[in-house]
Symmetry: C2
Subunit: 320 residues, 2 copies
């Protein structure tokens, strides 16, 4: 499915993999091993694909787009490595996390190294606007996560706060991918804005689906335990819907009041699975995907635009 | 003492403080509080001073040098925040660390935010060479620390490995300060290289003195417990000298073999204090400072050069 969507940029995605592999070749064998473990672990490469597809509409220059596509994947990896330390996660994509295998100290330093590496790659774009955008995106991302860290187990979170949070946490990096692809291909400002908005809406939809799958997916599909958001005290859209539906008493409320956590996570998951909440959340995600596709209307109607539209459909349909 | 050395750049150092204060003004009150706590905590500001002094020899342009001077201090702060998590340090500059007060998760995210902020500030220099140098320096720094994290409690460390480690850990950031100041003031390449080497040698001396003070300083002067390097399994120059002097049996060896840690840290500290090892280490540091001063010989003989020479003298004389 993804391979069809990636078709217009297939060859350059292989070159991104080559660059990720090169990034693992460093003097220190220990650092090299950690880079191998995290950069070659086979994510879906959605962010690099978005940079390349967004760069296809005007002056596609691989000299600038390839380092940028690699940079967003390296930055994304850095945030995952640090997130796993923060959440004390033990499994990611079906494998033990860096903090689990090598310890928190190495995971923090590896994340830092990856952040620096991503910055070095961005400098290769020779574009100061993109360098600045990259830095500001990561500021929004880490600042947003910091806010979240100050508000765990807080039942007063509204849908709006949820949107702000996933906007900072996920949509920011996805719109960085699309916006930078546009800038680096010298797109006119209207198109830069359109691709940025596409990325934003796609990113929101992507995270909502992630949050649904944390309730209805299986551990095997997800490559990590389900119910992890509730376990970490993070209220996502399905949980917010559940609280709205049963405002008086429900397992999420009891869980957040620190009563018998494991049991209440199980109960909340069951309640959500057996309700119409997943469909309602999917409807919200689909709305964002529809908006994302509308954002593309002023762009040339070519293979890249079709891929971006298909990607928006994929994001809602995916099971992992 | 420092105020005299900083005299040629006094006004612009005040502007760096203003910029650090501005960096603390963000929407989120919680993030703002953490930024206040770390950026206004009154370090010696040696790194920003070095950027500004190194920028004084040719075309001094505060539009570029001020953001750079601020960036190196913010990057330095980010590394301290993450180091304190990694080392589980509870006190820094006489105050509880961020991880102690707010927890490890917030400290990791704050460090990430500061890294991103430093990158945004560097982009203000409009100089891609400096952006790249900044990223590569932080790669060397975090990669070097990662190597160290894989080799704690390792008695086979030589003087050469020690020099490599402190070169990556400390000298890299100090030579970034001096080299970037030179580049941003359009210094000729010979002068860029000279200031870079000055920073490198000064940085090595700076860290050796830090490592001596961890043995002979007082907790009050240092603002943190002494003996902390040994406690973390880090072999510094005084400990290496001690191992060379008593190769068969000594408290460092016993400590690294995990015997009665607290007692052996105390014994090792006493042995070093009552030996000629501190003077011998100071002699090594002084040699590096002398080299640093020699590096300056081709630069114009003006107030900035005198300040850089005095700073090299200060680094060896300081007690904290």
């Amino acid at each position: 499915m993804l391979s069809t969507i990636y078709e217009p940029i297939q060859e350059d995605l292989v070159r991104v993999e080559d660059r990720l592999r090169s990034a693992c070749e460093v003097d220190s064998p220990q650092l090299s091993k950690l880079l191998d473990y995290t950069l070659k672990s086979g994510g879906k490469r959605i962010r690099p694909a978005l940079v390349l597809l967004s760069g296809k509409f005007y002056h596609y220059d691989p000299n600038y787009l390839l380092p940028m596509a690699t940079a967003v994947e390296v930055l994304h990896t850095a945030t995952l490595v640090h997130d796993d330390v923060i959440d004390n996660s033990l499994v990611r994509r079906g494998y033990p996390t860096v903090n689990k295998v090598w310890g928190e100290d190495k995971a923090i330093l590896l994340g830092d190294y990856l952040l620096a590496k991503s910055q070095e790659l961005v400098a290769e774009t020779q574009n100061l606007r993109v360098v600045r955008l990259f830095a500001q995106t990561f500021m929004a991302l880490s600042g947003g996560e910091l806010n979240q860290a100050f508000n765990p187990f807080n039942l007063e979170q509204t849908r709006q706060q949820y949107r702000q949070r996933i906007s900072a946490k996920t949509a920011s990096l996805i719109s960085l991918a699309t916006e930078s692809g546009a800038i680096l291909s010298q797109a006119p400002e209207g198109s830069v804005e359109a691709l940025k908005q596409y990325g934003h809406n796609l990113g929101i939809a992507f995270q909502i689906v992630d949050d649904i799958l944390d309730f209805i997916g299986t551990e095997e599909e997800m490559g990590k335990p389900t119910g992890s958001d509730l376990a970490q005290g993070t209220l996502t859209l399905p949980a917010i819907f559940l609280l709205e539906r049963y405002p008086e008493d429900n397992p999420v409320r009891r869980l957040f009041q620190n009563e018998d956590r494991q049991k209440n996570i199980g109960l909340a998951t069951e309640l959500v699975r057996n309700s119409s909440i997943p469909q309602e959340c999917y409807a919200v995600a689909s709305d964002y995907c529809a908006k994302a596709c509308q954002n593309l209307s002023l762009l040339p109607d070519d293979a890249s635009r079709r891929s971006l539209i298909q990607l928006a459909e994929y994001v809602v349909k995916r099971r992992k």
